[in-house]
Amino acid sequence: MSDLWLHPASALILGALLLPLIPARLKKVWLLAVPIAAFALNTIMPPGVHGQWQFLDWTLTFGRVDRLASVFGHIMSLISIVATLYGLHVKEDAQHIAAWIYAGAALGAVYAGDFLTLFLFWEMMAFSSVFLVWFRRRKESPAAGYRYLLVHMAGGVCLLAGIVLHASTPGSSFAFEAFEVSKMTPASWLVLIGFLVNGAVPPFHAWLPDAYGEGTFNGSIFLCTYTTKTAVYALCRGFAGLDLLVPLGVAMALYGVVYAVLENDSRRLLAYHIISQVGYMVAAVGLGTEMAINGACAHAFANILYKGLLFMGCGAVLHMTGQSKFTELGGLYQKMPWTFLLTLIGGLSISAFPLTAGFVAKSMIVAAGFEAHNLWAAFLLMLASVGTFLHTGLKVPYFIFFGKNHCRPETWERAAEPPWNMMTAMAISAFLCLFVGCYTPYLYDLLPHPVHYHPYTAYHLSETLQMLLFTAVSFFLFLKKLEPEPTISLDLDWPYRKGGRMFLWLAQKPVQFADNCLGEFYRVGGIAGLMGSARLAGWFDGRVIDGVVDGLAEAVRKLGQRLRPVQRGAVQENLTLAFALGAALLIVLWLVW
């Protein structure tokens, strides 16, 4: 193995920066080549510590490669290929650049060996992903992106405060290692809050449905993959076994499910559901056993696949019809059958149907819960699976592709199968969902700890099928009740939106008035005086100093003009003058000496 080590993120970030320079004919090739290169770099990376750089007093570690980081790096680089393929036909370079920098930053954060590097990439993720929200360019987009950025900046500040506090305590350094979960200090709480904000853990979660529902159709694939899963990785690394995370995760799982059921917008539903899924992972991290951590990683892996697939399906519908609300859709099976099929696979996968990725991944967490004798957590998580199947496995495919056709005529006209690249991307994801579900060693070999879990047992199969089938039965029984209604769910973003407005009023009225007064004073007293002096200096320079210089030159010239008549061209006059002057000089000298 050569000494040259290239960070997989470098392929993505460099590719992003060079993208504007690629000629149009080769753009599609470049768009595919770069994430493939990143995935290849990620795959050939040997475990160990690479890429250390001495900066001032600190050692920055860019490549801490171990099994925990690798599993996240693997799926993140893999999904970047699929997501880029999905958005291959997008002509705006800036969207790809933002997406790749975001993906690269996530990879950087996953492989960061010290907190400073982690923070650098953490912030890079926030600042690049916000563009994926802004680029949708709807009326609501600027505000949504702005709120997203504010929340992430607040989280980042918390994280930085925690890092600095942690590193300044004696005996600890900037190295990114596990915290002492039994002895939580203010520093570790702050770092935890920073991670939880990114992981959309309630009460810090409201940004997620807000922003992910507003993202571009292809940007949302990137959005749903990276931020939350990087937070899960960070929690796995730093806070494995923290007991608080178990109830938090379980509450999250249920919370997300409840709000998802209420949602009308299909992508916001999926976004709320991310909260639910991440809740599983957070609970697993809280459990802290080897199987739990395995489960968290496996679930993250599988979640990226099927959540991506679901976002792709709903994104395809959004892209083709321009609508994402259930109250505007329905009956699209006739127009988009393949999209339906692939979305359905995603839905089944997320519901942990046998033979899909969810079955072999999600259940590991529940099994870990039972194994740790945390029965409340395990049962409640199973309950959340019911809800999952209800809304994502059933509601989403049914109300978009079947059910009552609420489509307006122009929506119906536009609806058709999406372009080949989107279909291919979805097909690849669907294939991977099924592949991971059927051939478990692919996933299990990547997991950090040895896997002693066998998903395909008769008990597990029957338990799962029972739950799913009864959920399906109840869905169809209560179909009328589950009809979509155009509602806005009031969530925890209400306080900070209102609070934000109040703060803005404060800034615009009283503070601005004070600033205006100060500005007037500064203008009248300061600037006017300064510019007056400047003009005076300029005048002085031109008139006085230059006057002296030019005046001197002018005086010399005038003197010369005065003397010119002395030379009239007549040689005898000149000679007379010269001799007279010479004689006078001699007389003076003779008199002096």
Partner: protein
């Protein structure tokens, strides 16, 4: 010892000095404008590349003059052809050779008439400028000093703006008037010493009276060149009327010659007089800084604004020189280099604007940022550098000058603060207006952004702005020994910090962390 690049005993300095002259001779024979431009560019580029190894070959451990050459020129007058560079002049030589290809590049389309004569003027100027920095014989120095006046006057008078004759004459006569006294001083020194060799004139026990007169004679000549207040009014006129390449050379190199003169002659040859006149020099420098800043703020002509900013910057330079401590001298030399880089870049940028807009009025150029983003990027960086923004090259120089001035007197540092603020004021005003001013000007719509040639003219300077700004240690290393030696010569004692220095502890290290950090950055590596 670095491996030799030049073959041993190869007269590299003579080669560098006279190659442009040879290129000029060949240029006489060329016919087409295109061939002339390419020939000039390639020859100046080759000379620049050949001069680069001076940087690595220079032995920074000694203050002796290196790459010396000696030949008897006019034996009966004891005038010799002696060349040599020390830590200070080698940097200026490199600055000169670097700027020349950029001058040719920025004149590519600017000069349409008499291209051959123009290129010959540029090349002859390069010979003269390099000769000034390398000469170790006073008459040789004086010959080159006067020689550079003529091509510069021609550059202004033939290819200049509306008031070119006025500006060219003013420049020529003003500078020559100063040089006359310089010649008187040279002859006076010769009569005392019996030789024109500069090194032999240093360190002699001249009477204080004699030193004062010689210093004053030197002062007049160099103060006009620098330019110091109140001898500066030729500069705005010359800069405004000169073509871009002329302005670049004027600001980039010629102004440095005045400061170089102070460093090379006034300080080591007349040290007592230097000490005597230091308060006056510092006062004049301070006035120059504040005055230059104020007048720049009042300008609406872009070139005049940058010209007055040069007055301000060179005020920092002379202030650093006459603070007569290590920080001040280090800072002054860095200011010279940085000013050469930054102001040349600004003049090139303004020249590019002029080529497009055919006016230098700020109001006409307002709001260009929307149409010429690449240009504004470059322009913005150079404006930031000109106001000594941290991270850019000028910051290091000005900061050191401030530290040196503080060591001289705390009131001085207090008085300098408005100067720094003024620099920021006029540069930011310029940058803000040009980038974001009102965009209602219909002439802006068809403007072309920078093409490759123009980017190539500005890119090396951009690189230097950040390189010197972030890692000045290599340059500081080169001049270290020469500066120490100069301090020894002027202070008549082993070079150590000025006593009662409030900013340093007993070990001589600066007290506050900022200048400690800076000193760490500037401390040369202790490699043998």
């Amino acid at each position: 010892m670095p491996t030799p690049f030049y073959p041993s005993e190869f007269p590299i300095l003579s080669a560098l000095i006279f190659s442009p002259l040879a290129a000029a001779v060949i240029a006489v024979l060329l016919r087409s404008d295109r061939a002339l431009r390419w020939w000039s560019f390639l020859s100046t580029l080759v000379i620049a590349l050949v001069s680069l190894p001076l940087f690595w070959q220079f032995d920074a451990r000694t203050a002796d003059f290196q790459f010396r050459e000696h030949a008897a020129w006019i034996p009966w007058l004891k005038i010799n052809y002696t060349l040599g560079v020390d830590g200070i002049s080698v940097l200026l030589v490199l600055l000169t050779t670097l700027l020349m290809p950029l001058c040719v590049l920025c004149s590519w389309r600017y000069i349409k008439a008499r291209v051959r004569e123009f290129m010959i003027c540029l090349l002859v100027m390069e010979t003269a400028m390099l000769g000034v920095f390398c000469a170790l014989d006073f008459i040789l120095f004086f010959v080159f000093w006067e020689a550079m006046l003529i091509p510069m006057t021609l550059l202004i008078a033939v290819w200049g703006g509306p008031r070119k004759i006025y500006a060219a004459l003013k420049f020529f006569i003003y500078t020559m008037a100063g040089s006359v006294l310089l010649l008187v001083a040279i002859i006076a020194l010769y009569l005392q010493v019996g030789s024109f060799d500069i090194r032999q004139m240093m360190g002699r026990p001249y009477s204080e009276n004699f030193q004062c007169w010689v210093f004053l004679a030197f002062f007049l000549s160099f103060a006009i060149k620098v330019p110091m207040f109140p001898f500066h009014t030729w500069l705005p006129a010359a800069h405004v009327e000169a073509p871009t390449a002329g302005s670049v050379l004027l600001a980039g190199v010629l102004l440095k010659m005045g400061a170089y003169g102070f460093l090379r002659f006034c300080l080591p040859i007349t040290p007592q007089a230097t000490h005597l006149f230091t308060p006056w020099m510092i006062a004049l420098s301070l006035i120059g800084i504040l005055y230059g800043g104020l007048t720049a703020l009042a300008q609406s002509d872009l070139k005049k604004l940058v010209a007055y900013s040069s007055v301000g910057h060179m005020g920092f330079c002379t202030l650093g020189i006459f603070a007569l401590n290590k920080d001040g001298l280090d800072g002054a030399i860095l200011v010279m280099i940085n000013h050469g880089v930054t102001t040349s870049a600004l003049f090139i940028a303004v020249g590019l604007l002029y080529e497009r807009l055919h006016t230098r009025e700020l109001s006409q150029a307002a709001g260009l940022g929307k149409f010429m983003p690449v240009f504004i990027t470059f322009f913005g960086v150079f404006c930031l550098s000109s106001m000594a923004f941290p991270g850019t090259n000028s910051f290091i120089g000005e900061f050191l000058v401030l530290v040196g001035g503080l060591a001289w007197s705390p009131w001085l540092a207090l008085a300098l603060a408005p100067g720094v603020v003024l620099a920021a004021a006029y540069m930011l005003r310029l940058l803000q207006k040009v980038t974001w001013g009102s965009t209602n000007n219909p002439r802006h719509n068809g403007l072309q952004d920078l093409e490759l040639r123009e980017v190539a003219a500005l890119a090396p300077l951009l690189v230097l702005v950040f390189w010197i700004g972030l890692k000045p240690a290599p340059i500081a290393r080169i001049m270290e020994a020469s500066v120490k030696n100069l301090l020894q010569q002027v202070n008549g004692a082993p070079a150590k910090m000025v006593a009662n220095d409030p900013t340093r502890d007993s070990a001589g290290r600066p007290n506050n962390r900022a200048s400690w950090a800076l000193a760490e950055v500037l401390t040369p590596n202790q490699t043998p």
